[in-house]
């Protein structure tokens, strides 16, 4: 009788726990809490084995993410934090702006939580690096300070450092770039310039941003606006008209909120549904000529 009662009580506890979890009321403080490092494996690699003088190559941060968790794109959407990397390079090397691959959308625009943009399962963040023309033979060490927020029903923040040492040459070498299949595939996910597509164009009438893009064989497309200070976007839509997708989004501009930064409309249009499908970046400056 006692055992039956104990089992019944245990069952009730398990049931209540399951209900609480299903209701999104999971308390991360209950039980052993995983760290962000447990959920996201981060590696720091390069697309070149040896650096030549004047060569531009990429350092890459590769994220392997626990199933059902996600990290964020450069413009995280309604909430979140951009995944960021700071590279410390030896003197003479020029560090470019990080390049983000096409994201995927999470959530729904139908709720206050809204849409967020990021990556599940895996992600690669590239940083272009240009070597000095007077590079000497030897080695060069790079440090990466990486910050990410990983979320599911709750969030954890990871801030880690990685280092990488590469050999350097004092003359041009023939080391191939992009031979790593993971990096090569990820590079294909980087958005291309919209201008390279014939008859594609970007227009802004002061209220509505319109992007026309050749549809090719794609049946669907998604607009991912990148929010910069002083600019807010609402109601992004994409419709197929003939051979083109017409992406529109309402824009509100407030120069007082621009924080001194250049005001421009920037975003990505992704063709198809998958993040491996092609995507194109647009940029429209709002500065007067």
């Amino acid at each position: 009788m006692r055992n039956a009662l104990t089992n019944a009580m245990l069952g009730l506890v398990v049931l209540l726990g399951a209900v609480a979890d299903a209701c999104g009321q999971f308390k991360p403080s209950q039980g052993r809490q995983k760290s962000a490092e447990d959920l996201v494996a981060v590696s720091f690699v390069s697309d070149t084995a040896r650096i030549a003088p004047g060569q531009t190559f990429h350092l890459a941060i590769v994220f392997e993410i626990e199933p059902h968790w996600h990290i964020y794109w450069v413009s995280p959407g309604a909430s979140g934090l951009p995944t960021q990397v700071d590279i410390i390079a030896p003197e003479g090397f020029v560090v470019g702006e990080p390049l983000y691959t096409r994201p995927q959308a999470f959530g729904s625009s139908e709720t206050l939580e809204g849409l967020t943009y990021g990556y599940e399962k895996n992600a690669v963040l590239f940083v272009p690096i240009t070597a000095p023309v007077d590079l000497k033979k030897g080695s060069a060490s790079f440090q990466a300070d990486i910050l990410y927020l990983v979320c599911k029903s709750f969030c954890l923040m990871g801030n880690i450092n990685r280092s990488l040492t590469l050999e350097t040459d004092d003359k041009e070498n023939h080391a191939s770039i992009g031979v790593d299949p993971i990096l090569a595939r990820a590079k294909d996910r980087l958005p291309q310039a919209l201008e390279q597509l014939e008859e594609s164009k970007v227009a802004f009438d002061g209220k509505l941003l319109t992007v026309r893009i050749s549809a090719g064989d794609s049946k669907t497309a998604t607009l991912y606006p990148i929010e910069l200070p002083g600019i807010t976007y609402e109601n992004p839509k994409v419709v197929l008209k003939g051979d083109f997708f017409i992406a529109t989004v309402e824009v509100e501009i407030n120069p007082d909120n621009a924080l001194g930064e250049e005001m421009k409309l920037v975003g990505v249009v992704g063709l198809g549904k998958n993040r491996d499908d092609p995507s194109y970046m647009f940029e429209l400056s709002l500065s007067k000529p």
């Binding site: 309604a78 979140g80 934090l81 951009p82 206050l112 927020l149 929010e227 109601n235």
Partner: protein, 210 residues
């Protein structure tokens, strides 16, 4: 500034409007209807929420004072970072130095989180704010609170003057970070226009019940 709540669909809005919300009288000097959403430059919607001890507090109780609303979630690592680093206490101290008539309300809209959690969290981080519980998220929805932290600054006349990020340092560790709340309080106190009046907030999503 366009209210970001307009992302809500007609269905979501209808559901929200049909919910029974016990709002008290409009904010002092302001005429906000019971169903209006928070919008910079307009009257801040009044609300009544309980603290951890079950005592009710209304926005209208703070007539004539600047009110800082800060959405919090003790489980959010970004909330914890800004609290642990002393940024919130520093912000509150600087605001108080600019204007003695100031009130700091820390609202938690996390579904299912006990009220005592917020109070303990504030105490642990020495934050002298009043912890208010918005378990059903109705006040959070009305204000369009999307992240933790997400800040709203209301002037003594009950007008919402700033909403958005706490500062320009999402990553943390910036030596010359600008705190937008201190900036807004300074400008309000000296009779200036608040600028910026909106900066996109960063942080964890608010874990609403719906």
């Amino acid at each position: 500034m366009k209210n970001r709540c307009s992302f809500l669909s007609t269905i979501g809005l209808a559901a929200l409007m049909s919910a029974a919300v016990a709002f008290a009288a409009p904010a002092p000097g302001a005429e906000a209807s019971a169903e209006e959403k928070a919008k910079v430059g307009e009257a801040a919607p009044n609300f009544t929420l309980d603290d951890a001890n079950g005592k009710s507090h209304s926005l209208s109780d703070y007539k004539g004072k600047i009110v800082i609303l800060q959405w919090i979630n003790p489980d959010c690592p970004i909330c914890r970072r800004v609290s642990k680093a002393g940024l919130v206490t520093k912000m509150a101290k600087e605001c108080k130095a600019l204007n003695k008539d100031i009130v700091h309300l820390a609202i938690n809209s996390t579904a299912g989180m006990p009220g005592s959690t917020s109070a303990k969290y504030l105490k642990k981080h020495k934050i002298k704010a009043l912890a208010l519980i918005d378990g059903d998220g109705k006040v959070g929805h009305r204000y369009g609170a999307r992240t933790t932290p997400h800040i709203f600054v209301i002037d003594a006349e009950g007008i919402l003057r700033y909403q958005g990020a706490i500062d320009d340092d999402p990553r943390g560790g910036k030596e010359d970070a600008t705190n937008y709340v201190v900036n807004a309080v300074r400008q309000i106190s000296s009779g200036e226009t608040v600028s910026p009046d909106y900066v996109k907030s960063y942080g964890c999503s608010v874990k609403y019940a719906d």
